[in-house]
Symmetry: C2
Subunit: 632 residues, 2 copies
C-alpha cells in the first residue's frame, strides 16, 4: 500500500469517528504526527476524549489545528490580546505562527497572563481563534534564540512542506523478510573528536552526531563519504546528542552535500549548536582557514530541525523510535535511546555524560524502558582518570581567588563558552554571596554571555535546585549583577587598563585563540595576578604549555614573560570520571547485553572496555572507526 | 595525472628504450598488463633482455604481440602449420586468437610438435607470424571447456575492449591521505552457504565469492544489496575461491544487476563454475523455481573472466594485488591472498581447504610472503569434528563393496559431481587394479562425467603422484575403462534392468533429486545391494533420513521400502577436519595477527575461534554476517 493510500484510509477513519458537526478541512502527516485542520477547534477542545480516541484508533500522534479561515488577522488578534490581558502581565512580544494557528506571548508574569484555571487563555482562543502559548520573557535576551525562532517563523511555509514530505517518508512502511540492526563507526571511536555513527536496519539509516575534530590538521571530518553512508538522501534522520562541535560541528556540511532530511535534538541543543557553528565559521575565517560550509547551510539545518524535550518519543524512521534522556553534560545534552522495530532491539547512545549532580544539571539518566546495547563515552575511562570532588574544586577556587584578590591581583580563567563557564560562574556567585571571596566584577568575554543567555531561556533543563531558585525565589545566579559583559573592544581596553581587582572568564578554553590572550598579554607579567585552568588542556595548545611550566611564550608574534601565578582547579569537568563511568554501568537499568565504548583515547577505550567486562561481565567492544557491528 | 597522461608517458618511455629498428604499432593497457604491438616480433624475441629492461623501467608486466598485419591469414597459417609439424604429432585442433596473435595447437604428442629446443615452434612463428602454443589434446574432451574457450575466441574483440577499459581503471592511481583496509561479511559467516565478503580500502572494493545457499527456502542470496556494496559498478573485481555453488553460484547475478567488471579465478574454477551454474539453472527450471538469472548472464561472466594459475600475481585494483595458492579442496580451489597498498596489509581468504594430501590434490598451501590476517573456514571446526583417515575410509569402502559384489548385489554411491566423485573414482580404480575388489563397471550418472573431463584438461592442478602417473606413465586413473558414462535414458534403463553386478556413482550427493533416485527406486528393496554415503547429509534431505535409519521413504510420490544395506564411509571429505584445521593454523607462515573464522555453523565458528585463541594466542573473531572489521 502506498503512503497516499495509507493516508487516504486514515482520513476516512478519522472522518468516520468525528461527529458530523465538526468541520475538517485537511488531514495530513507532518513529520511523525497526523495533523487535523478544522473550522471547529472549540468542539475538539470541548470533547477532550476525541483526540485520545482518534490516537488510539489510528495509532498516531494527533494534533488538531484551527483552519486558517477561523483565525482573526494578526493585527486584529494582537489588538484583542492586548485588551484581554491585564496591563501588569507586561507583554514583551507576540509571535504568530499562522501555519499552526499558534501565538506565543512573552510576558513578564505568566501567572497573570494565564488567568485563573486558564480563563484568559480561553478568552483569547474564543475571541481570536488563535491558540495562545504564554512564556516568561527571557530575562537575558538571547540573540541566537531570537534569530532562530524568527527564522523558523519566516520559513513556516517551507517548513510545513518539509514536514509533510517527511511525514510521507516516515510512513512508507517496513519491508517483509529478515530484520537486522547494526551500527557503523564513522568517527570518534578510539579517539575524541568528530563523533559520528551510522545506525542502520534493513529499511532505515540514521546518523548519530556529525562532529568535527577541531584539533586535526586535516579536515577533521568523520568518514561520511563511505559507501554505506552515501547517498546522503538515503539517510532518514540525523540525531544530535549535544551541541559541542565534536558532536555537531559538521551537520551543516551534510546540507551542503545535499542532505535535506531532519535533524533531531533538544531545543537548547539546537540553539547552542547554531551558536557554536556560527562561531566555528567565524574562527575559521579569522584563521584564514577555508570554512567547510557557509552560514546558509546552518540555516538549512535550522529549517530542518525537529526539536524535542527530554522524554519525548518520536518516530524517526518507519522502524526506529527516538527518545531523548538527560545526559548531565551541558545544556540540552541527551542520551539518545533508539527503539528499533517492534521490540526488536533497543540501543542508547550516551553522547557525553556526567553521572553526578553538578551545579547546573541533574546527573545522566540511568533508567530506560528497554535496553540491549549501550554506546558509552570513555573520555575519562582510564583507570587513573579520577577527578577531585566538586567540593574540593570549589575550595581550591576559593583559596586561589581569595589570595589573588587580597594581594591586589586579577584572576584570568580561560573557559569554553558552553558548560564550564556557567559552572564557574555559579561557583563565583555563590562564593561572593556567602562572603567567602570579595565582591568584584566578573567579566565575561567571548561567547560566554550569549551562551549563558541561552541557559536562562531553558530553566527547565537545569537541575532542581537551580530551577527552584529561579522559579520560586526569582533568583537566577547566572544573572547576578556581578557578571559584566565585555561586548566591545573599548570595554575590554578599559578593563585591561584598570588597576581594579577583577575576575575574567574568557575564551578560548585552551588558550589557542580568543580574547583570553589579550588578558594574558596585558597581565602576564603581573606577579600578583593568577591564571586558573579549570579544564583539560590538550597537547600542543598554549594552555598546555603554560600548565606544564613554560614561563616564556609567544602570542601573536609577541613574546611574553609570564610572572603570574598559574593554578589548575580540577573537578569542574562536564565528563564523568572513571569512577562515575563505572557507577553508571553498574546502575543503568535494564542491564545491557553489550557496551560499545567510544569517545576516548585508544588506551582509555581499551582499559575501560576490559574493566567493564571484568567487573560486570557485560560483553564490551572497543570499536575502531570504520567498523560495523551487528546487533540483530 | 589522468590515466591517459600516464599511458602517454609510458608510451614515450617505451619508445625511448626500444631501438628505432623495432616498429611499434600500438602500446596500451589490457587489464593489468602493458601490451606492445609490433611489426617486428622477431627482434623482441632475439633480444630477450629487452622486455625485462622495459618491465623494470616501467614497473608493469609487459606483453609483446605481433601487429595483425604481420600475421598470415588463418587459412594460410593453418596450412603451413600442418606442413611443418610431423604427422605423428597428430593435430586434433587449432585455435587462432587474432587479437593476441596466438595459435593454440592441440596435439596428441606435444613433444613431437615442439621439436628439439622448440625448433618447430620457431619455424611456425617465422613462417606464419603467429605465436604457437602447443597443448596436449584433452584425453577426455570436455564440452564445457570447449564451449567456454570457443565463446571467448568468438568474443575476442569485445574482450579486448573490456581489457583496455579495465586497464585504464586499474591504473587510475591511489588517493592521497589516510589509508585503510577493511572487510565486510556479506554471507557465509556463522553459517555455511552464500559465501560473500567485501574487501575495501579508501580507493577500492573487491568482492570475494558470491555464493548461493541452495538449501534456503528464500533466495539464498548473500547481502549484496547493502549500501556499502552498491552500486555494483563501484566494485573493482570479483574473486572466486572455488567453483562450488555456495561460493560461485550468484556471480552471474551480479552481471544481471549491472556489474561489468572482471572475475578472477583459476582456469579450472572458471570452467567448473560455469558447469555448476548452468546445472543450477537447469535444476531450478526442473523444480519450477524461478532461476535468479539466465544463461546470458553466465556468458557475461565468461567474457569478463580473468583466469590465473596458482602463483600468478596480478593487480586487481590500484592498491590491491591478488595471488592464488592451492587450497586442496576441489579442482582449481584457491586460497586468495591480497596484498594491499605498498606493504600496508596482507590478508588471505582460505575459501574451503583440505590440509591433507588427498588422492587428487596436494594439501593447502601454508606459506605466504606476508600475512597479517587470515579468513579461515570452519566447516569441521567443532571440537568433535574428527574424521577417520583416508586409509580407514578406503578400507571400509573396500570391505563394503567387496561384500556387496560378492553376494551379487549392486552398489549405489550418491555423490556431488565435483570433488568427492573423482576421489571415489580413484579409490575404486585403485582397488580394482590391485585386485582388492572385483572388476565391475562403475557407472557415472549425472554431471560426474563432464566434471571428470574437466579434471583431465588440467592435470597440472592434480597432486604430484597423479600428475606423474598421467605424464610419465601415461595412465590416468580417471580415464580407466572401468568407468562408463550414463548419457541417456535408455542407457540408464539398461543398467537398471541388468542383473549384473555394478557400482553406480550418481548425483545428487544428498539424494534430494538427481538420477541417484532412479537407482534407489529400482534397487531399494534389494537386500543384496548397498547404498554408501561418502559425504555429509544435511538435515532434511532424503540422504539424511535414510542415514538416520528410515526404511520407508517417499520418492516422487512413490513409497519405497528399503531393504538394501546402508553404509557410511566417512573420511573422503574435501574439507579439513578439526585436527587438520588446527594444524593448518599452527603451520601457516608467517603467523597471522588475526584470524577471522567463517563458513561453519555458529557453534563451530565460536568453538573453533576460541580454541585457536587458547592454543596459539592469535586474536580470532567469529564475525557475523553484516559486520565490518577494520584491519588498518
Amino acid at each position: 500500500m502506498s503512503v497516499e493510500d495509507i493516508l487516504q484510509e486514515i482520513r476516512e477513519e478519522v472522518r468516520a469517528i468525528l461527529p458530523a458537526s465538526i468541520r475538517v478541512t485537511d488531514i495530513d502527516f507532518e513529520g511523525a504526527q497526523l495533523v487535523i485542520y478544522t473550522k471547529d477547534p472549540d468542539k475538539f477542545a470541548d470533547n477532550s476524549d476525541l483526540v485520545r480516541q482518534l490516537a488510539k484508533k489510528i495509532q498516531k500522534r494527533i494534533v488538531v489545528r484551527p483552519d486558517p479561515s477561523v483565525l482573526e488577522s494578526i493585527e486584529v488578534a494582537e489588538k484583542k490580546i492586548r485588551e484581554i490581558l491585564p496591563e501588569e502581565a507586561n507583554i514583551a512580544n507576540m509571535y504568530f505562527e499562522p501555519d499552526i494557528g499558534e501565538v506565543t506571548i512573552e510576558v513578564e508574569k505568566p501567572g497573570v497572563a494565564i488567568g485563573k484555571h486558564g480563563s484568559l487563555l480561553n478568552d483569547i482562543k474564543r475571541e481570536t481563534g488563535w491558540t495562545p502559548k504564554v512564556i516568561r520573557t527571557p530575562p537575558m535576551p538571547s540573540k541566537t534564540v531570537q534569530e532562530i525562532r524568527g527564522y523558523i517563523r519566516v520559513n513556516a511555509e517551507e517548513r510545513k512542506e518539509f514536514l509533510r514530505r517527511l511525514g510521507r517518508r516516515l510512513h512508507r512502511g517496513v519491508s517483509d523478510g529478515e530484520k537486522w540492526v547494526r551500527m557503523t563507526s564513522l568517527g570518534g571511536y578510539r579517539e575524541v573528536g568528530r563523533s559520528c555513527t551510522l545506525l542502520s536496519t534493513q529499511d532505515s539509516k540514521v546518523l548519530i552526531d556529525c562532529g568535527v575534530d577541531v584539533s586535526s590538521s586535516g579536515s577533521g571530518s568523520p568518514y561520511i563519504h563511505l559507501p554505506e553512508v552515501l547517498p546522503l538522501e538515503s539517510i532518514d534522520g540525523v540525531v544530535v546528542t549535544h551541541a559541542h562541535l565534536d558532536h555537531s560541528g559538521l551537520i551543516p556540511l551534510l546540507y551542503k552535500y545535499g542532505y535535506d532530511g531532519p535533524v533531531y535534538c533538544t531545543y537548547p541543543t539546537r540553539d547552542v549548536m547554531v551558536l557554536m557553528q556560527m562561531d566555528y565559521l567565524k574562527v575559521s575565517a579569522e584563521n584564514a582557514k577555508k570554512p567547510p560550509y557557509l552560514s546558509e547551510h546552518i540555516r538549512e539545518e535550522i529549517k530542518h530541525s525537529i526539536p524535542l524535550n527530554y522524554g519525548d518519543t518520536t518516530d524517526i524512521a518507519p522502524d526506529i523510535r527516538l527518545t531523548m534522556h538527560r545526559a548531565g553534560h551541558i545544556l540540552g545534552s541527551a542520551i539518545c535511546h533508539f527503539h528499533v522495530g517492534d521490540g526488536l532491539y533497543n540501543i542508547a547512545f550516551s553522547g557525553d555524560i556526567k553521572y553526578e549532580q553538578t551545579l547546573l544539571f541533574s546527573p545522566a539518566a540511568t533508567h530506560f524502558p528497554r535496553l540491549e546495547a549501550l554506546v558509552l563515552e570513555s573520555t575519562y575511562g582510564g583507570s587513573k582518570d579520577i577527578q577531585p570532588s566538586r567540593k574540593k574544586a570549589i575550595e581550591k577556587m576559593r583559596d586561589v581567588v581569595q589570595a589573588t584578590l587580597q594581594r591586589g591581583g586579577r584572576v584570568i580563567i580561560p573557559v569554553f563558552a558552553i558548560g564550564r563557564s556557567q559552572e564557574v560562574m555559579i561557583v563565583l556567585e555563590q562564593l561572593m554571596r556567602d562572603g567567602e571571596i570579595p565582591k568584584v566584577p566578573v567579566y565575561l568575554d567571548g561567547m560566554i554571555w550569549e551562551a549563558t543567555a541561552i541557559h536562562t531561556v531553558y530553566p527547565e533543563y537545569l537541575n532542581n535546585k537551580l530551577r527552584q531558585m529561579i522559579f520560586q525565589e526569582g533568583e537566577n545566579p547566572l544573572m547576578s549583577e556581578i557578571f559584566e559583559r565585555v561586548d566591545s573592544y573599548d570595554k575590554r581596553e578599559e578593563i585591561l587598563d584598570s588597576p581594579d581587582p577583577a575576575i575574567v572568564l574568557a575564551t578560548s578554553g585552551m588558550m589557542n585563540g580568543g580574547p583570553v590572550l589579550e588578558y594574558l598579554k596585558k597581565w602576564g607579567d603581573d606577579e600578583l595576578s593568577s591564571l586558573i585552568f579549570v579544564g583539560y588542556q590538550a597537547e600542543g595548545t598554549l594552555g598546555n604549555k603554560i600548565q606544564k611550566g613554560w614561563r616564556e611564550v609567544t602570542v601573536s608574534n609577541q613574546t611574553i614573560e609570564l610572572k603570574l601565578n598559574v593554578e589548575t582547579c580540577e573537578g569542574f569537568s562536564g565528563h564523568s570520571d572513571r569512577n562515575e563511568l563505572m557507577n553508571y554501568v553498574k546502575n543503568v537499568t535494564p542491564k545491557p547485553k553489550r557496551i560499545i565504548v567510544n569517545h576516548g583515547e585508544e588506551s582509555k577505550c581499551l582499559d575501560f572496555a576490559s574493566s567493564i567486562y571484568k567487573k560486570y561481565k557485560i560483553k564490551t567492544i572497543a570499536l575502531k572507526n570504520l567498523e560495523t557491528v551487528r546487533f540483530r
